[in-house]
């Protein structure tokens, strides 16, 4: 019994209701209304108002396609668009490839152990990406940790160029994105009944084939969701390519920021943003054709109608080829290192992957205690001076408190609004599903600087500039896509017959939701909450504009501190944040277990 069949059955039950019953039944689609209204006011309106500038002459305000003509006539913008898509695409591919085995391994662990391991996966999340990026410079540099080990041990005579090139950018970006990929895929994998693989093998499938054609296929909603989230969030990166990249690693967000902040040409910035938006939407459409993304956006449209789509057939064909190839590869590996060795491969790989994820943070901890003025590793000596700086500064402390408060409020709002919308799409078969899905993803695609400037104008009109409320609203706009996609993906695999069973046993809709649905999709809800929390906790651009420098958040305060001079206070702050978060998460876990 596969999901298609289940969805087919629910569809039949729904259509079996009499017209009168259907009329009185509140349409589930209404659950998306709060989210759509929120996005219309705080995202679509401010952003469209700004994008409208792109078809105006900056001086006269008359209609003009000048900015677009400039893009078309200069090759640099299309070239940078190409580089941006290449970097984002590679980041998505590598994050999924490297993250999939890790997610698979995590999904197979028993609950308690898994939760502790997930904490390790989350470690990079809790280190500000400003600090992480500088940590990578320390690790990968010419005189950095890796090159020192290689040349010191005589393994290499020359230091390797590991950073200030495409490789450095990929390391920084993939490292930042693997947690997102893993945590999107894992809840889906936990939901897969592993006995299905045993069944396939009992029916004669080779292990590799039973994996690719059964398990992998069932995990695809997670893979597609994770790939898309990573790809689209990577499009907007600018700090990592700026600090770890070389001459050619320029991404579009950097050019847009230059236009907005340095050249003050918002018409042209709007045109560049519009170009990126269109390109991203076209990619999403292609992605949908190839991998059946709309299977996520509710309904089984692609399996039923799109199933005949040629591109989708190609997708399935690719899968079969991979299955065959890996079956052969697995045979070879087993012959070389034996069955026991083969069984150890996955845990060894996962240990290495986790080491990669925690490495920059492990470096940041000793740097927090350094006696040097710089981010050096190993520290030349130790002192508590940077912690003293932090704890004696009311600015740092209030920024920390505000960041935790704003992030918690954002996470609650985003999970609630996004969860309701995901439920709406999962429970109603509407042709508007695709549009609603795209609307909720849109804040990811639009560069943050555009959202930030647009929101600033709106907030100034309604009195939300330099307020905590303004920060929460702005961050909720950014966090919604993560919460929405994560919950959509988990609902995708949810067996709705359980709800029907609850209804048959006399539970009303609210009771069913809270006593049956919510507990069963809890993993997804927790992931959504954490994504939203982290999105807010590490957010800089909106904070820069909305805070006005007065209601400072932690990333904003770090940014202010590091524009001119990078000092180890940043590392000390990261250590403090890391300790607080770890303690909170451990307490939450303990509390939940005893409860």
């Amino acid at each position: 019994m596969n999901t298609k069949g289940i969805a087919g059955m629910t569809a039949t039950t729904a259509s079996a209701l009499s017209p009168r019953q259907r009329y009185f039944r509140p349409n589930a689609l209404w659950l998306a209304a709060p989210g759509l209204a929120f996005l219309a006011v705080f995202f679509l309106f401010p952003v469209l108002r700004l994008l409208a500038l792109s078809v105006q002459n900056p001086a006269s305000g008359a209609f003009s396609l000048e900015s677009y003509a400039r893009i078309a006539n200069t090759d640099v913008y299309l070239q940078v668009l190409g580089i941006t898509f290449k970097i984002a695409g590679n980041t998505a591919i590598f994050s999924i490839l490297l993250g999939y085995p890790l997610a698979y391994w995590l999904a197979g662990l028993r609950d308690g152990l898994r939760e502790r391991m997930v904490l390790l996966v989350m470690v990079p999340f809790w280190t500000s990406y400003l600090v992480k990026t500088f940590a990578w410079m320390v690790v990968l540099g010419r005189t950095g940790v890796i090159n020192n080990m290689l040349t010191g041990s005589g393994l290499a005579s020359q230091p390797f160029p590991l950073v200030y090139n495409e490789f450095g950018v990929m390391v920084g970006m993939v490292h930042a994105m693997i947690p997102l990929a893993v945590l999107t895929m894992m809840p889906i994998m936990i939901g897969i009944d592993r006995r299905l693989i045993q069944a396939a093998q009992a029916l004669g499938a080779a292990p590799a084939q039973s994996f690719w054609l059964v398990y992998f296929k069932l995990s695809l909603p997670g893979v597609t969701a994770g790939g898309l989230l990573v790809f689209i969030s990577s499009l907007g990166f600018f700090i990592v390519p700026a600090l770890l990249g070389g001459r050619r690693e320029t991404m579009l967000a950097q050019l847009i920021i230059t236009q907005v902040q340095e050249l003050l040409n918002w018409a042209f910035a709007g045109a560049l943003a519009a170009m990126m938006l269109v390109a991203a939407l076209v990619t999403c459409w292609l992605y949908d054709r190839l991998f059946g993304l709309s299977s996520l956006s509710g309904g089984e449209t692609s399996a039923q109608n799109g199933g005949s789509g040629r591109l989708r057939l190609i997708g399935l064909a690719i899968l079969r080829v991979i299955a065959k190839a890996s079956a052969m590869l697995a045979d070879v590996v087993r012959k070389v290192i034996g069955t026991r060795g083969a069984q150890l491969l996955l845990p060894i790989y996962c240990a290495l992957a986790l080491a990669f994820l925690v490495l920059p943070t492990l470096l940041v901890i000793p740097i927090g205690f350094t006696s040097s003025q710089f981010l050096e590793f190993p520290p030349p000596g130790y002192s508590m001076q940077w912690f003293e700086t932090y704890f004696s500064s009311p600015v740092w402390l209030s920024a920390t408190l505000r960041s935790f408060g704003v992030a918690a409020a954002t996470a609650l709002c985003a999970t609630l609004i996004g969860g309701l919308a995901a439920l709406a799409l999962a429970r109603s078969s509407t042709r508007w599903g695709g549009v609603i899905f795209a609307t909720f993803l849109a804040p990811l695609i639009v560069p943050r600087i555009i959202i930030a400037v647009g929101l600033f104008y709106l907030f100034a009109q309604i009195g939300l500039v330099a307020t905590d409320m303004g920060l929460v609203i702005g961050h909720t706009v950014l966090a919604l896509p993560f919460a929405f996609v994560t919950i959509t993906a988990i609902l995708k695999n949810y067996d709705w017959r359980l709800d029907q069973a609850a209804a048959v046993l006399g539970a009303n809709r609210v009771k069913t939701l809270f006593l049956v649905t919510v507990p069963l999709v809890k993993g997804g809800l927790v992931a959504a909450f954490l994504f939203a929390f982290i999105t807010s906790f590490d957010e800089l651009t909106i904070a820069i504009f909305v805070s006005g420098g007065i209601k400072t958040t932690l990333p904003k305060q770090m940014w202010d501190d590091m524009i001119l001079q990078l000092n180890p206070t940043l590392a000390a702050v990261s250590v403090v944040v890391f300790v607080i978060v770890t303690v909170l998460l451990l307490l939450a876990e303990r509390f939940r277990r005893t409860a």
Partner: protein, 355 residues
């Protein structure tokens, strides 16, 4: 219904604009209630905060009773500045601007006059004061080399920086055409007094020669400190104070002031600011030599009031951009040329980087 909307609007206006709309109509009222008591000053953040507090904010509070709250502004606050004026939400009353930001904002009519001239502060450098802006600190675009790499044979000019055979080593330039084009022209033999208008074609030809030898294109001031300090590169361009930070932290490096270009950062007031009077008073306060001498104790930036050197020690003066010895080796970067050409040249530079 319309009644409530009106009330809402008024309340919001009051909140956001700090009473601007009312302040325009009733200046006396808002002056008493809010304006004269506190001003918000946006400085570059980081080490500037404490240094400016000691030199300017605290003494100003003591002298006038006007409280100064300082916040950190962005490296390029132009977008925020524009938004503040256009929405009349005056979160800042005074903000530091670079010359380029000043010109862009002045052109869009977003700056308030500062209300005094050089007559009031004759020690100021002539280029450090305009109708809308007063310079407070001078920074230079120079280069530094690692002493441990260039032991006996150190580069002394831009021509040396470009000479990869005679001065082998890993190099870094800024990923931005500003200053980089001038440096390329100086390396190619252009006289520093005849730099402007820049010969852009010649500059790119000169850059072509060194393109393959640039190990790192740095993008932020903190990064230039980091790569010089860690020895990632052997010579790099940068702003003198950022390079000095590496040297102060113990890095064996030397700054080359010859053929440097300097530029100025200074205070400006957003147009229509309801607390403009207090802001003007503050800016004038910052023009005095004794106040400016104080901030140079903590920051390696040059004062704009050259009389400040009367009370600055000779050792300290050596690392400051406007000390007589350093200033005579340098020229001011021509902001007028850049305001005119920046968009087109930036586009060409980005395209050149990718080719």
């Amino acid at each position: 219904m319309s009644d409530t909307t009106l009330k809402m609007n008024r309340r919001h206006l009051l909140k956001t604009a700090g009473g601007t709309a009312l302040a325009l109509g009733m200046p006396g009222l808002s002056g008493r209630a809010f304006a004269a008591t506190t001003i918000t000053v946006a400085d570059p953040g980081g080490p500037f905060g404490p240094a400016f507090r000691k030199a300017f904010y605290d003494p100003f509070e003591k002298a006038t009773g006007i409280k100064v709250v300082n916040v950190a502004r962005e490296a390029e606050p132009t977008a925020q500045f524009k938004a503040i004026v256009e929405t009349k939400s005056y979160t800042w009353d005074v903000c530091t601007l670079t010359l380029s930001a000043r010109d862009i904002l002045a052109k869009q009519n977003l700056l308030e006059p500062i209300g005094f001239t050089r007559d009031a502060a004759p020690g100021l450098m002539p280029e450090a004061i305009t109708e809308h802006w007063m310079g407070t600190d001078v920074y230079s675009s120079v280069f530094a080399y690692r002493n441990d790499h260039f032991k006996n044979n150190a580069p002394k000019s831009w021509a040396d920086f470009w000479n990869v055979e005679k001065f082998p080593g890993r190099r870094s330039l800024r990923k931005n055409p500003i200053d980089t084009l001038e440096q390329a022209l100086l390396a190619d033999g252009v006289n520093i007094d005849q730099l402007y208008p820049l010969d852009v074609d010649r500059a790119f030809k000169s850059l072509d020669k060194i393109k393959q030898h640039i190990a790192i294109w740095w993008t932020g001031g903190a990064q230039s400190t980091q790569i010089l300090q860690s020895g990632e590169v052997d010579l790099t361009t940068g702003w003198n104070a950022r390079l000095q930070a590496a040297i102060d932290g113990g890095a064996p490096a030397t700054i080359v002031w010859d053929q440097g270009l300097y530029s100025i950062e200074g205070w400006a007031i957003p147009k229509g600011c309801p607390r403009a009077d207090a802001a003007k008073q503050f800016i004038k306060f910052c023009s005095t030599a004794d106040r400016q001498a104080v901030f140079t104790e903590a920051l390696a930036y040059g004062p704009t009031n050259l009389d400040a050197y009367k009370s600055i020690s000779p050792e300290r003066a050596r690392v400051l951009s406007t000390s007589p010895d350093n200033l005579k080796k340098m020229r001011v970067a021509n902001e007028a040329w850049w305001s005119e050409n920046r968009a087109a040249v930036t586009e060409r530079f980005n395209s050149w980087l990718l080719s």
